[in-house]
């Protein structure tokens, strides 16, 4: 029982990331009809916004410490962050410690602008081209973005920790009446899950309860008619691209304490997120979210030793297996609408 609860918890944080990326993918696909293979790269760039914030807050000046020596035997040059010299070591240190949550403030404008530039500068030229062309160009773009990040930040994963206050773990088991130390869950993963729920709720509320959202939903249902009513739907869809990029970016920023960011982390998530979109149903936002959590949890269960001992290697194929079964039984996915990708 404890093992099952633990794997459900594990699946929730992984599922949160899948759901957020798949949500963005579906938004773009539903509005612009573009299959965006650069979406994983947007997740990765979001993660690097946290790294950039960490570096910005860590900007320092050099002081020579005569009492210590470096590896060549010269006096040690110590880096003192400006933030610490301005606000004192305690407050300054605390600000640096909170660089991941503070990274959100950087990620939102950066991702929205990046989304606009991508859409206006490149992707809009491919709206009338076949899906294969769109996939190729966005995939190429993903590689370019990856290489740019690698050029500036190197190939190694960069440790970007959660604030000390949220970096411990808590005993979830004792809350449910189990023995202590049986179900332990890292605090940050819970924060990530709640954050993902907040973002998902925010996106749905925006689409459901604002006039802008209503127009976008109408555009998703019937683009031509909305255009005939004199509404500039293209401009709104561009904004939606920016919003989708921001969602992916935020998912990336907050994921950094779970997975040290590196330049190819986006690709690892992209493929799985596409499967999530297909399982959820192309163009269906609730489908993407539900499938994200479902597949995250299934993947966790498949990693259990008891299951792996019956079917070895199941943890690596479970997602694709589920995709096959869903597509065979429900070709439009769990909540797919009729007519999407069927013309």
């Amino acid at each position: 029982m404890e093992a099952i609860i633990l794997q459900i918890l594990n699946g929730l944080d992984k599922g949160s990331a899948y759901a957020l990326i798949a949500l963005g993918l579906t938004l773009i696909f539903g509005t612009l009809g573009v299959v965006n293979f650069a979406h994983g790269a947007l997740f990765m760039i979001g993660a690097f916004c946290a790294v950039i914030m960490q570096r910005l807050l860590g900007l320092s000046f050099e002081m020579v410490d005569e009492t210590k020596t470096d590896f060549l035997g010269n006096p040690l040059k110590v880096q003192v962050p400006y933030v610490e010299s301005w606000f004192g070591p305690e407050l300054g240190g605390a600000i640096i410690n909170w660089s991941v949550p503070l990274g959100i403030a950087l990620a939102i404008p950066v991702m929205i602008v990046l989304g606009f530039v991508m859409e206006r500068g490149l992707i809009k030229h491919f709206y009338k081209r076949p899906h294969a062309d769109q996939i190729l160009v966005t995939f190429g773009l993903a590689i370019v973005l990856q290489e740019i990040i690698k050029y500036f930040f190197g190939a190694n994963p960069i440790q970007t920790g959660a604030p000390d206050m949220l970096s411990g773990s808590f005993d979830f088991g004792t809350m449910l009446g189990f023995d202590p130390n049986v179900i332990i869950y890292p605090l940050w993963r819970l924060v990530y899950f709640l954050f993902a729920l907040f973002i998902i709720a925010g996106v749905f509320a925006f689409l459901q309860f604002t006039t802008f959202g209503m127009v976008v939903r109408a555009g998703m249902a019937d683009r031509e008619t909305v255009g005939l009513l004199g509404i500039d739907i293209d401009r709104r869809f561009t904004i939606m691209f920016g919003l989708a990029a921001a969602v992916a970016g935020l998912a990336g920023v907050m994921y950094t304490p779970i997975l040290a960011p590196n330049y190819h982390m986006g690709m690892d998530f992209l493929v799985l997120s596409f499967v999530v979109v297909v399982v959820g149903g192309m163009g269906s936002l609730p489908g993407a979210v539900a499938a994200g959590f479902l597949l995250g949890i299934l993947q966790s269960f498949a990693s259990m030793n008891e299951i792996k001992s019956i079917i070895p290697g199941i943890d690596q194929v479970i997602i694709y297996l589920v995709a096959i079964v869903i597509l065979l039984t429900r070709p439009r996915g769990l909540m797919g609408r009729k007519g999407v990708m069927e013309d």
């Binding site: 404890e2 093992a3 633990l6 794997q7 594990n10 699946g11 944080d13 992984k14 210590k68 470096d70 590896f71 060549l72 040690l76 690698k150 190197g154 190939a155 190694n156 994963p157 960069i158 440790q159 920790g161 970096s167 411990g168 773990s169 130390n181 049986v182 179900i183 332990i184 869950y185 890292p186 940050w188 993963r189 304490p257 779970i258 997975l259 040290a260 590196n262 190819h264 982390m265 690892d268 993947q299 966790s300 990693s303 259990m304 030793n305 792996k308 943890d315 690596q316």
Partner: protein, 449 residues
Amino acid sequence: MTNSNLTRRGVLKTGAVTGAGLALPTIFTSRASAFTNEPTGSTVKFGFNVPQTGPYAEEGLDELRAQELAVEHLNGMGDGGMLQTFSSKALDGTGILGKKVEFVTGDTQTKSDAARASAKSMIEKDGVVMINGGSSSGVAVAVQGLCQEAGIIFMAGLTHSNDTTGKDRKANGFRHFFNAYMSGAALAPVLEKAYGTERRAYHLTADYTWGYTQQESIQASTEALGWQTVNNVLTPVGAGDFSSYITPVLQSGADVLILNHYGGDMVNSLTQAVQFGLRDKQVNGKNFEIVVPLYSELMAEGAGANIKGVYGSMNWNWQLQDPGTKAFVKSFGEKYGRPPSNSAHTCYVQTLLYADAVARAGSFNPCAVVEALEDFDFDGMGNGPTTYRGADHQCFKDVLVMKGAENPTTQFDVLEIVEVTPRAQVEYAPDHPMFGGAEASLGECNDGA
């Protein structure tokens, strides 16, 4: 009046005969080469095949830095580095056998097929006489096989799997790096001293050749101490999130987690294990501990504070205090502003050792080089007295046991040396069952003639 008998057919015939005549000597000379890529001009070319892209690119970059430095020292530039401390004095800083050393580089991408393709291109197009580098055992085994077929010497870079000089050993290949068996043999006494003899270990193992041999070696050496192995779970390479593999550890009754992971996988699995509070746990009345059998500086830097107090092993470390290490760290540090990693050290030393073997043999012929390197004893290269054993082409020297430093002063000293394990403690027979047993054979040396 000139009477010309030139006809189209005649011209063609004459051209064909002349062409064949001109080509004949080159056909013969290429056949007449005594061995593959025999250097004929005033230069000789090395091929440095390292990961320049992909997850181990950082390590590949450090290997390249060291290889470039080694070439400089061979050609008499810089301060000479370890040439000053190397016990053999066959090299004098004027290149090798009077030839200036040049090099080309290839990108292994840490993929066996890409590594073979780049090595093949360097052999066939660039005419290299030796290939050095790499950061993965899968790549090392693949490139070693290719060099054997081509008649080229392969000086394997960072490869830790027992198989490289075990069941997959080749006459044309030599390994300077230590191996998984040696890690187990060096770590066991330290683990016994730190954690006692009654422990229950849980292994998470990277699902490929290196992971298997490392797990097998560590399991054997810890079980010899009296430890029990609770479970061994294979994890996919590049899994990213290891949480679903870590959580079962909590219920397994294990009190030690052994992470047979390398590179980014190790950074992630270690970080996540710490996040799940494993190191704060008490199991069976003991503190829960984590062990990372193979360390690298670059990866330790990536794991940050999570590595504090965690034991592991290394081939070499810049903090050693012998004259060879000091000379190399000085040369490297002054040129690049950072201390060398242990993979950089391996590639640097191997480039010098190959050059020295050629100089002692008086020939670039790979079989003469093999003969010069087999059972070669030397010192001054950073790990004390060292031997390249002839029976399996494995290098034997002291091995380092490391621990994550509690209070590092810079990003370069996140690891500290706990013990220098004497070479006698990590030695084994060439026909050891973990190394292919009696069936494992180097085969015949191939010079490509």
